[in-house]
Symmetry: none
Subunit: 227 residues, 2 copies
DNA sequence: CCCCTTTTTAATCATTTGTTAACTGAGGAA
DNA sequence: TTCCTCAGTTAACAAATGATTAAAAAGGGG
């Protein structure tokens, strides 16, 4: 699983070693050499995982960790703390501040890779409820099935996500940009016309023998799910 | 969640410490001070979880672990390895031999309890019953046999665990990552494509003369067991 | 050393996706 | 009303993505 890994570390030799190895694994790597900047960049780039030195100039790893963990937007980025060998009590402190794993220098690249993999694939808790309904539409997030009038409907992944998003706030009108941000993702760029196409596909799919259309077009504003 | 914990450890001071703490948590505790005896007792008592010292007189923890993990009847008992501090490479070896978790001495009781809880939670739900059925599929957890339409099916260990996991929550779609975490274990790192291969083998195995396929592929989401 | 299982790899196959461009229709202005 | 313009709709297609499959490589145990 290629991911974006951020390294906060002041020893350049370690940075380049890590960078080399991580890129070989297919990850995208950014880094920063001081705490202040690291925090700023992390918030800007929103990486998938952070390798953080315990000791950093001007803002310690612990502080960054605390800061991130209390911010809803960033508290689910896994953090691996890097510390010098032998500081056993640091381990406890690291976990207390919210680090997800802990590696002592010097570490084997193999082990680090393993831990990274493990953290990256750790299940994200899905908070939303399992089955949602709207009018004669039912969507089951556990079995990934969608029904209209108890008849099963086949949707592609994007149409599924689109409908799933609409159904969270029925009747609310979303602009194409909002849909792109919420369904496709913040940092993915596609033409806004693409939304139209998927709206059409979704409409076709959920349009079963003389039922209501369910998706409303609001001219020059966007789309909404309603009766 | 009270359970039966077995301790294989030769230092009596550690045994009594562990025993005290585990019993305070409500667990039933047995122990043995040498490898030979430990293995015998484990097979006799079939505990819910094992705490095992890496170094034991006359039969090492690794050997016991290997022995148990290749025995269908015992390979699902979670094992936590206990090792002296600083032996980093042992960690890798421990996981390779099939240990489910790894703790270095000295350890905090709090951390150990957390890990025990986590492993028990993962392993427990299967204890509900020894024979489970789904459609025309029957799996016997005691004898480790699988039948389809009363005809016995031969599955490799991984396929067995995979099917066993699926059958706990039929119809539920699991991602490859979830399957890796739950069937292979949190600490084992294989490519997620490997899952596909085992799914295929499982499919082939349970596909007896014109019966339903039973395993559904959900593109970009995962797999599920259903009719 | 041979056999069996697991894992990786790579080729192939199938579906989904994003884009483009032509088409349609609503609504405002004359 | 009629025409014009602009936004939305539709269909077609190429590219990308994801799943399947077979076969080779890697381990592990007897």
């Amino acid at each position: 699983m290629p991911a974006h890994v951020f390294i906060a570390e002041d020893e350049t030799s370690i940075i380049s070693l890590l960078k080399y190895n991580l890129e070989k694994e297919g990850h995208k790597v950014s880094h920063s050499e001081n705490g202040e900047d690291a925090l700023k960049q992390i918030k800007l780039k929103h990486p998938d995982l952070i390798l953080m030195d315990w000791m950093l100039p001007d803002l310690s790893g612990v502080d960054i960790c605390k800061n991130l963990k209390k911010d809803k937007k960033f508290n689910d980025i896994p953090i691996i703390m890097l510390t010098a060998k032998g500081e056993e009590e640091d381990k406890v402190k690291a976990f207390e501040t919210g680090a997800d794993d802990y590696v002592t220098k010097p570490f084997s690249q193999k082990e680090l890779n393993a831990r990274i993999k493990s953290l990256l694939r750790r299940a994200k808790p899905q908070s939303s409820s399992d089955i949602v309904e709207f009018i004669d539409l039912r969507i089951d997030r556990v079995t990934k099935r969608v029904y209209r009038k108890d008849k099963e409907i086949n949707l592609g992944p994007t149409e599924f996500k689109l409908l799933d998003f609409f159904i969270k706030n029925p009747k609310r009108v979303y602009s194409r940009e909002q849909l792109l941000n919420n369904v496709w993702g913040e940092n993915i760029y596609v033409e806004s016309r693409t939304v139209d196409v998927h709206i059409r596909r979704l409409r076709q799919a959920i349009n079963i023998e003389n039922t209501k259309p369910l998706i409303r077009t609001v001219r020059s504003a966007g789309y909404s799910l309603e009766s």
